[in-house]
Subunit: 167 residues, 2 copies
């Protein structure tokens, strides 16, 4: 299907060959890499018992006090799932959800002092997980890979079930 | 973080900038691209009501009659989830699961005639979904992207919760 990068020709080829079509499929590889990232994240951040999605959501609270819909739009998740995650983080006292006086259907979400302190610590282990996910690629290949990921995610944003909407 | 590929500089930059850190994180981008691929797959294959994971599993049956554990190992999923998916496909009469005479704890899985015919048709829409997932990248970037994906998936295989095991 494709030329593996230098230095890994043998191994990459052997995986592709032994799978025939399966490992050549972008969607299959993306699912696997997502699984791998989640596992690395849970391992690196196990002392905080926090998931990648919880972390994504928490970081949207850093620079403001968004409502739940804005958070869902920012992280590309549906509102029901986002609300469920927020409730769990509220139970742990990492954030508060208070009714928006100007729109009763909305809740404003704020990091608590505890949440802000935890988030600063989680940043460190999360960064390690993100790095480990791609650190088998050399510097230039890694940059190119992340740029391609960003390009595909942006170009196909509207096709996902919960597109990202930036206000 | 990284130079976006030519021709998309403006758009790629604007997404990264407006997200600050979030869109620069490999894990976040991988989750989004996985969501996008699933949505494209469900759209392309909606007439068959089949998911990417069901398709991955079905294609492992093409060249043999594996047991359920071998299938789980091939697609990188845990046995419980794999068995659940297989039962649903059995309900639809796309495959059979029969006890293995030489190991009562195992079941041998076989495509039915109906399943084989459906799979040939699903191949076509699945291919379109896989292509659409990466077709915003130019030919060379696309090859390089898929090679990098394969490299990362292989190198980090052991970190995932359900590593791929090739017999």
């Amino acid at each position: 299907m494709t030329k593996p990068p230098k230095g890994r020709v043998g191994r990459a080829n052997s995986l592709v060959d032994s799978y025939e079509n399966l490992a050549a499929r972008p969607g299959f590889l993306i699912r696997r890499l997502h699984q791998i990232h989640v596992a690395l994240f849970l391992e690196e951040c196990r002392q905080f018992n926090v998931t990648p999605v919880q972390y994504s959501i928490l970081t949207t609270l850093r620079d403001g006090e968004p409502d739940q819909t804005s958070i869902a739009n920012k992280v590309g998740m549906d509102l029901a799932t986002t609300t469920h995650v927020l409730k769990r983080l509220e139970d742990r006292r990492w954030l508060t959800r208070t009714p928006n006086p100007s729109d009763r259907r909305q809740r404003i979400v704020r990091l608590t002092g505890l949440g802000a302190r935890m988030l600063t610590e989680v940043d460190v282990c999360a960064k390690r997980a993100h790095e480990r996910t791609v650190d088998q690629l050399g510097g230039k290949d890694r940059e190119r890979f992340i740029a391609s990921l960003a390009q595909l995610v942006e170009a196909n944003n509207q096709y996902s079930r919960a597109p990202i909407k930036l206000s």
